[in-house]
């Protein structure tokens, strides 16, 4: 996909974008919902070029590590510190989020317990298969991209009668969060770059309300620089024509209908509930939990952790991750940014995750240039 990074092609697209931005009545502000898009924009150096072309980019809530409230991270810590002989499996980023109880990395496991970092939920399931007497809890966090894989492990464990496997769910749905951002009106968004890999599962349909009810255009984008610029040009074209919609600019990888097999699996294993997000608070039907038929595989119920996701909780003192996730302030707008809060000593999760806006701004942002 080298041509999608070709400087000449990117220059042509930036020219198109600048020309369209000038024809709009006000400087367009676009939200890239997905943290992987934020990373792609910064790494490729597109953010300042887009600013020059007259387009302001603002990061959205698309970082599962970041939007998971500390109460849930603390429940995960409670599993590994409070239960003996358990393996807690988690994605790497999830283990470094600081809470009142420290992080999973700094917590001292109970006797015989351990933390294991995995790349795939199936690795956690394999561990449960290998040692049927040892409880394995997978700290299952993610958006619609990841949820089918997590649901797969639950259904598989049920089919194989693996009673030592359980999931601590932190499962989040993107469309309800977009509705919450639009209804809150804290930040004026003139268009959305929709997440390519969430859309690989859910398709284009679930975003239609953004255009239909709120009149805001959007486009589903891939992750090469050229993909993102194509999506931005499409959004500006929709705005100029006064015809907001949901364009698909990633058709080589996904179809408008997404992946029905993955959605059926999600629906079989999980059910929606009103979940609390960091920064966004409780959003109706925005989280998934395991259905009663799979209650035996819910680590929260098995270990009596209570309703960990009762609300969005509060950020650590001084931390503005919640505001960053809503797009209300930029990372540089937080007083802790780059001073007390840095990647080697993060205060909030947005400085921990490789999809967190604070970490990305710290590593690649203009304020860092020339400062080493």
């Amino acid at each position: 996909m080298k041509p999608l990074r070709d400087p000449a092609a990117l220059k042509a697209l930036l020219g198109d974008i600048g020309e369209r931005a000038r024809r709009l009545k006000r400087k367009p502000r676009l939200m890239e919902v997905c943290g992987t898009h934020t990373m792609a924009l910064f790494r490729s150096g597109l953010t300042p070029m887009l600013a020059e072309a007259g387009v302001e980019m603002v990061s959205g809530p698309g970082c599962p590590v970041c939007i998971t409230p500390n109460a849930v991270h603390e429940a995960a810590i409670a599993v590994v510190t409070g239960v003996e002989g358990v393996t807690l499996a988690a994605f790497g980023d999830m283990t470094r989020v600081p809470t009142r109880l420290g992080s999973l990395q700094t917590a001292v496991p109970a006797r015989g317990s351990r933390l294991r970092i995995v790349y795939s939920p199936e690795e956690a399931l394999d561990e449960a298969r290998r040692a049927p007497d040892r409880p394995v809890v997978f700290y299952g966090a993610g958006f619609e991209t990841t949820i089918p894989a997590i649901a797969y492990t639950v259904r598989q464990a049920a089919a194989e009668g693996l009673k030592n496997y359980a999931v601590l769910p932190a499962l989040w749905l993107v469309p309800p969060a977009l509705r919450a951002i639009l209804e809150a009106k804290d930040v004026a968004v003139d268009g959305f770059i929709y997440p390519g890999h969430v859309s690989a599962v859910i398709g284009a349909g679930p975003y239609e309300f953004v255009a239909g009810e709120f009149g805001v255009p959007g486009a589903i984008a891939g992750f090469e620089p050229g993909d993102i610029l194509l999506a931005i040009r499409s959004i500006l074209d929709q705005a100029l024509a006064g015809r907001p919609g949901v364009a698909l600019e990633y058709s080589r990888a996904i179809g408008r209908d997404g992946n029905p097999v993955a959605r059926a699996l999600m629906a079989e294993v999980c059910e929606p509930f009103d979940a609390g997000w960091r920064g966004l608070g409780v959003i109706p039907a925005s989280g998934l939990r395991l259905r009663d038929a799979y209650a035996g595989f819910d680590a929260g119920r098995r270990f009596g952790l209570g309703a960990a996701t009762a609300d969005g909780g509060t950020d650590p003192a001084g931390c503005r991750c919640g505001d960053v996730l809503r797009g209300v302030v930029r990372p540089e707008g937080c007083r802790l940014f780059g001073t007390r809060c840095r990647p080697d000593a993060p205060v909030g999760p947005c400085m921990v995750s490789y999809e967190g806006a604070c970490l990305i701004h710290f590593k690649f942002g203009p304020e860092r240039r020339g400062r080493g």
Partner: protein, 78 residues
């Protein structure tokens, strides 16, 4: 965490399980979410699971579009 990569299915090992070639190495991939996938198909892999089968025709079309745009700015050749 929604990072995902394109890779080609090298072989189907068992129902729902396969091996994919990614940047010169062979990786295990769960194919349960893409039952239509066949050996030789390009898929998008996230957290060990293929979540989508790529459309080669659309991929070629995207490449053509970008080569065309690049050709309009010959002085910026990569």
């Amino acid at each position: 965490m929604c990072l995902a990569v394109p890779a080609r299915i090298a072989r189907i090992d068992a129902p729902g399980q396969g091996t994919a070639s990614y940047m010169g190495s062979q990786v295990k991939v769960n194919l349960s979410l893409v039952p239509q996938a066949r050996q030789g198909d390009w898929v998008i892999i996230h957290a060990g699971f293929a979540i989508s089968v790529m459309d080669e025709k659309e991929a070629r079309e995207t490449l053509r579009l970008f080569k065309e745009m690049a050709a309009a700015f010959p002085d910026e050749a990569a």
